[in-house]
Symmetry: C2
Subunit: 167 residues, 2 copies
């Protein structure tokens, strides 16, 4: 196939972090820009992992609060922030990653990948984020919603309710 949209044309240029960066700083970066997640890269710019925001949230909230959400009902925002900051204190980004034994295949494609190739890899690996790699270095990220938008270009979606109820 010649021409056509490729992964590198779609990749969002989002910030990356290294495994040695502070986990709290990386989390604040995701929070401040409301990122869907962040790519973790080694010193050479090669992708190590992708950390979805939902996975970061699991590391931020202490386990005993996850097990008993009612505990969280009595805590105001300042208390919640203190709790989460304390919970991440001293942690590195590398500590947020699954141990190598449990690590899953990295959802990554070459910059040349077609739209359908990107979608196939994300779908197979059940990843909400895809890393686009050019010449061994991270070029950017793609979200599932963005890929759906490219796969299924806009039609008149305001008729969703009517279309459904007419059937």
């Amino acid at each position: 196939m010649v021409g056509g949209v490729r992964a590198r044309d779609l990749a969002q240029d989002l910030p990356t972090v290294s495994p040695d960066d502070s986990a709290l700083t990386a989390t604040r970066l995701i929070a401040a820009r409301r990122l869907p997640g962040i790519a973790v890269v080694d010193a050479g710019g090669r992708p190590v992992a992708v950390l979805p925001a939902s996975q970061v949230l699991r590391s931020v909230v202490p386990g005993y609060v996850q097990e008993d959400p009612a505990l969280a009902r009595v805590m105001d925002e300042a208390g919640a922030e203190r709790l989460c900051v304390d919970n991440l204190a001293g942690e590195r980004v590398g500590d947020l990653l699954p141990s190598s034994r449990h690590r899953v295949e990295l959802a990554a494609v070459d910059g040349d990948a077609t739209v359908l190739e990107c979608a196939a890899v994300m779908a197979r690996l059940r990843s909400p984020l895809l890393v686009v790699v050019d010449d061994g270095r991270v070029r950017g990220l793609l979200t599932a919603a963005h890929l759906l938008e490219v796969l299924l270009p806009a039609e008149d979606v305001d008729t969703v309710d009517q279309a459904a109820s007419a059937k």
Copy 2:
């Protein structure tokens, strides 16, 4: 606790679909607005499930393409769209949901829930989306990144690289 930010103050008012809606129309809705996902509600407005965009992507891309992404390399965008549209033809939103045997607990909170309560439920259920319910009806959705933003209010995040390399 009196006052403070509650789930209902944070919930994004996103479109919802019913299990009987066309799967293709629902997918186009997620695509056109680049939604992180969509809440599935019954006729009474009660939440049935939450469908993250990544899960929808799994239903959109045919299984044989997921298993062999190289197949997708030879297909241009028009071909990819046809393939996905054909794959969803005749399907309902209900067909995209896991079977009731495999269905996981719905990530949902009451509108009164505190920020930390929302985070705890999402973290425990590993859900990238949380449904906020008021009086039994869906009020809106919350993403993990949005919750992180509220949990960890902005500081100077431009110093991430310096902070990390200084250690």
